[in-house]
């Protein structure tokens, strides 16, 4: 017993046991079940164990699936571009242009606080801005920029992406800022001494060294957008679809097998994307 407890493998597993249990019970088992159920069939009120490819056949045979997946990728790509641009600029400002450490901490906290409030409320809070009679439209009307209210501000792809950027830019700011703070400042001094301009320093020194942070932020943003269903439903007023909504619609109709099949395809897509991105970054080293 004593010898057993002195092995780091045994004590390691004992300490990690609660974590492993939760992950097995509430992550691995449910995923296995989803895969199993994706081969089942459904009647109107119940699901029937079976081994049938009918859900997948239907999924891949339908043109809707492809357009919905395409739409999901589109949201992910556009959101990624904006969150990266905004997140990088904000992190760069905080890390390299704010000189006092107290200010740095305070401004960084200011950027992260919304993360701890409700996403649903943050979505709702766009309504008075974007609505037909909202602030954006009435301001533009009074300035004479437009003659009649813009219809595409709320309940459109525009508002969906706006909400995504609003919700998820933090996930870019935090890891990029974290990586930037670890860049050795003497590298930048050396570059400046060697005659590099500000732009050259940014492009040739800071950007390459920030790549791991960008990757982590990208992983977060892409997976959050790919797996979302509620932002798209709420901000598009149920007019646009993404894969998450496809799944949640099936769930609403109690078509669990077909929801599971779509979920399996979504999971595979996301995991492949993550696996590719993880090749560029060692997460454990970056913390």
């Amino acid at each position: 017993m004593q010898r057993l407890l002195s092995s780091r493998h045994v004590t390691g597993w004992l300490l990690a046991l609660p974590l492993a249990l939760v992950l097995v019970l509430f992550l691995i088992l449910p995923i296995i079940l989803i895969v199993v159920v994706s081969f089942w069939t459904a009647t109107e009120f119940s699901i029937v164990p079976a081994f049938s490819f009918e859900n997948y056949e239907f999924l891949f045979g339908s043109a809707v699936t492809f357009s919905v997946f395409l739409n999901t990728f589109k949201y992910a790509l556009v959101t990624w571009v904006f969150t990266l641009g905004i997140g990088f600029t904000v992190a760069y400002f905080l890390a390299f242009h704010v000189r006092s450490q107290n200010w740095q901490t305070a401004l960084f906290l200011l950027c992260t606080i919304p993360f701890w409030t409700s996403n649903i409320i943050r979505m709702i809070s766009w309504i008075p801005f974007l609505g037909r009679n909202g602030i954006a439209n009435s301001t533009l009307l009074s300035w004479g920029v437009i003659d009649e209210p813009l219809e595409w501000l709320l309940f459109s792809d525009f508002s969906v992406v706006l909400a995504f950027v609003h919700l998820y830019t933090l996930f870019m700011v935090v890891p990029i800022f974290n990586t930037m703070m670890r860049i050795d400042r003497s590298l930048i001094e050396a570059a400046r001494d060697a005659g590099a301009s500000g732009g050259q320093i940014l492009w040739n020194i800071i950007l390459p060294l920030t790549k791991p942070g960008i990757m982590i932020g990208t992983i977060f943003v892409v997976t959050l957008v790919m797996g979302d269903f509620i932002t798209v439903r709420f901000m598009s007023g149920s007019q646009s679809a993404n894969v998450g909504r496809l799944i949640s619609n099936d769930i609403g109709l109690l078509q669990y097998p077909s929801a599971s099949a779509t979920a399996v395809v979504l999971l595979a897509t996301v995991l492949i994307m993550i696996a590719v991105m993880m090749r560029f970054v060692d997460i454990r080293k970056e913390l």
């Binding site: 493998h9 045994v10 004590t11 390691g12 597993w13 300490l15 990690a16 046991l17 974590l19 492993a20 939760v22 992950l23 509430f26 992550l27 088992l29 449910p30 995923i31 079940l33 989803i34 159920v37 760069y92 400002f93 242009h97 000189r99 401004l107 200011l110 950027c111 606080i113 919304p114 701890w116 409030t117 409700s118 996403n119 649903i120 409320i121 943050r122 008075p128 801005f129 609505g131 009435s138 609003h166 500000g198 997976t223 797996g227 979302d228 998450g244 949640s248 769930i251 669990y256 929801a259 599971s260 979920a263 979504l266 999971l267 996301v270 995991l271 993550i274 997460i283 454990r284 913390l287």
Partner: protein
């Protein structure tokens, strides 16, 4: 110090705009929640009143939000305590680099990146197929942990990467047992970060929507209740509710950050007596 370059002012302006983008909408609904009784979902304000806040306290107006709040609060505390305990143990475990730790780490990362609706669907299916009803305190609790634990674990990695092992070695040299080293040396040093883990645990649970959607059962948590309300209530009472929960979240965040700050100060003051001798 060299003078500020022009790019500083450009970037500062960009940062200012970003903050307006981040906080503007929330501030707007905070203002609009004081709409007069005749007011609508947007400006202009039809007078200023606390009518919509009073409306919130009448049960029939918006359903059972107080029950939902109590459940979310209880669930948040459960998730918070579990997250702190399990993350600390996990963080300690991963320092040992045991067999299979890499696999466990990747499973934890998967939990973090997996689309939330899959967790919801899978856990919901599992409980219903096993004949156990879904309930916020069982299936909902477990589903939320798959999101808060990896966050807690990553924070613990960050903490232990910066942890000075010399403290532990010194404790052991002075004859402390394993447990004494953890209890009297490691835990006090990492305590301020544990406040951070607790903050993550509580707020991520308190605001979680997707993972609880199919796992909460017949009693809604607050985010589910709020979502339900948005689909059938079109008065500023949603703004009043949004303002109240946001204020509550901010109070929680403020308390946690303040707590961490006080602990850090105390640690800095009482932690070392170096230089106090001759």
């Amino acid at each position: 110090m060299e003078p500020r370059s022009r790019s500083f002012y450009v970037l500062a302006a960009f940062f200012g705009l970003f903050l307006i983008f981040l906080y503007g909408p929330t501030l707007t609904i905070a203002i609009l929640s004081f709409q007069g009784p005749q007011g609508g979902l947007t400006f202009p304000m039809q007078g200023v009143s606390t009518f919509w806040f009073r409306d919130l306290f009448e049960e029939q107006a918006v359903g059972d939000i107080w029950g939902a709040f109590r459940r979310s609060f209880a669930l948040g505390l459960m998730v918070m305590v579990t997250t702190v305990a399990v993350s600390v143990m996990g963080g300690l475990a991963f320092r040992k680099r045991f067999h299979g730790s890499t696999v466990l780490f990747y499973v934890a990362v998967t939990a973090l990146v997996i689309p939330s609706i899959l967790v919801s669907l899978g856990v919901g299916l599992m409980f219903s197929q096993a004949g156990l009803g879904v309930h916020w305190a069982t299936s909902g609790f477990g589903a939320q942990l798959t999101w808060t634990l990896p966050f807690g674990l990553l924070i613990m990695f960050a903490v232990f990467n910066r942890f000075d092992k010399a403290f532990e070695e010194a404790a052991r040299d002075l004859g402390a047992s394993n447990w004494q080293t953890i209890r009297h040396v490691v835990l006090p040093i990492i305590a301020p970060s544990l406040v951070g883990v607790a903050l993550f645990g509580f707020t991520l649970s308190y605001d979680e929507f997707a993972r609880t959607l199919l796992t909460a059962g017949s009693y809604n948590t607050l985010p589910l209740e709020i979502y339900g309300i948005t689909t059938n209530v079109t008065t500023p009472v949603i703004f009043a509710l949004g303002t109240l929960t946001t204020v509550f979240s901010l109070v929680v965040v403020g308390a946690f950050i303040g707590g961490a700050w006080v602990m850090n100060r105390r640690r800095l003051r009482a932690g070392s007596d170096a230089g106090k001798g001759v």
